[in-house]
């Protein structure tokens, strides 16, 4: 467990380093995600070693977002002024976006006979 967690943190650190050295807009954690994928794909790292910890982290993922959500209370004044309009825009566009993406993948998969 400890070893797996250390490995995951090492990949996160590498991602953060690349982000800083090349001052990229893509954040370090996403770079870390791509790096660990590459390491697994090229057999530099074995899945069994990191899987126990990565599964546990993903199981608790919603929990880690809560402090961010609580942070919304900080933009109170902006929300009081424009809250309603922002909510309408978010609701409508979220529906458009989610349906566009879902619809395209499902219909293309059906066409190819890949209906999982």
């Amino acid at each position: 467990m400890l070893k797996a967690f250390l490995i995951i943190l090492a990949f996160l650190l590498s991602g953060e380093l690349i982000n800083q050295i090349f001052s990229l807009t893509v954040p370090g954690n996403i770079l870390g995600m791509l790096l660990i994928f590459t390491a697994l794909k090229s057999k530099l790292l074995r899945l069994e070693i990191v899987k126990p910890v990565s599964d546990k982290l993903l199981q608790f993922l919603p929990l880690f977002f809560i402090p961010y959500a609580v942070g919304l209370m900080q933009s109170k004044s902006l929300l009081q002024e424009h809250g309603m309009i922002i909510l309408v825009v978010m609701l409508v566009t979220t529906l458009f976006t989610i349906l566009t993406s879902g619809f395209i993948q499902q219909s293309l998969n059906r066409k190819d006979g890949k209906d999982i």
């Binding site: 807009t25 993922l61 922002i86 566009t100 499902q106």
Partner: protein
């Protein structure tokens, strides 16, 4: 007594306790509006306002939990590898679905904001609502938006997708697990991915990679679309 609220213990404990309770309530009633993230954060905000506690004080403990977001995103790479054979099999439809979702988000936000004559600064902050917050905050600042507003909007769109995404997709007969995962990830980034993971590992993997791909895609294309339309 007030000293208790200054300890990291306070922020961690109230988050764990309300999330645990929220999860129990959600499991018992299975209603989308009883979303655990929503229940927990609404309760905490209410508690902080009631007892006149600053967000910063709560976040003394809260940020210990936020820290785990970094390693969790790396963990998505592990899940991506595990499900890669399945994703590879439908790479074309997946990539197309993510790009279409990303473009639809930009076009619909900008068009609706123009129709409602929303101040331009707000439009620039809202345009990046569907990408993961670390990228969204940076791009929003780069195009003249308000980063703190973008951070908030991203969270709300995440919770929205997490809470109603699956129902909406099912309503429109989108039941393919891979497609649901992709739609959740490209619309509601990490918080949507948390919902996809509840559905299945496969949906979770598609969602995680969709979040990553849309983040990068929108970061490159978004500023350009904004200049074109505004």
């Amino acid at each position: 007594m007030e000293k208790i609220f200054e300890l990291p213990l306070f922020g961690i404990l109230i988050t764990l306790a309300t999330y645990f309770a929220g999860l129990r309530i959600y499991e018992k009633y299975r209603k989308f509006f009883l979303n655990p993230i929503l229940l927990s954060s609404v309760f905490i905000i209410g508690f902080l306002i009631l007892f006149n506690i600053d967000f910063d004080q709560y976040n003394v403990g809260g940020r210990y939990l936020t820290f785990f977001l970094g390693p969790s995103v790396v963990a998505l790479g592990v899940l991506f590898y595990e499900k890669y054979p399945l994703i590879k099999n439908q790479m074309f439809s997946f990539v197309l679905a993510v790009f279409a979702g990303g473009l639809m988000c930009l076009f619909s936000v900008i068009t609706l904001c123009l129709l409602l004559s929303v101040p331009e600064e707000l439009t620039r902050s809202l345009a990046f609502q569907s990408i993961t917050s670390p990228i969204a905050i940076e791009v929003s600042a780069a195009v003249g938006g308000i980063p703190s507003l973008t951070a908030g909007v991203v969270i709300v769109v995440g919770i929205l997708g997490n809470a109603i995404g699956v129902q909406v997709l099912n309503l429109f007969k989108i039941k393919n697990e891979a497609a649901i995962g992709t739609a959740l990830g490209s619309t509601s980034h990490g918080i949507g991915t948390a919902r996809a993971l509840e559905l299945s590992d496969l949906a979770g993997a598609f969602s995680g990679v969709a979040m990553c791909l849309n983040g990068v895609f929108t970061a490159f294309v978004g500023p350009w679309v904004l200049e074109l339309m505004l």
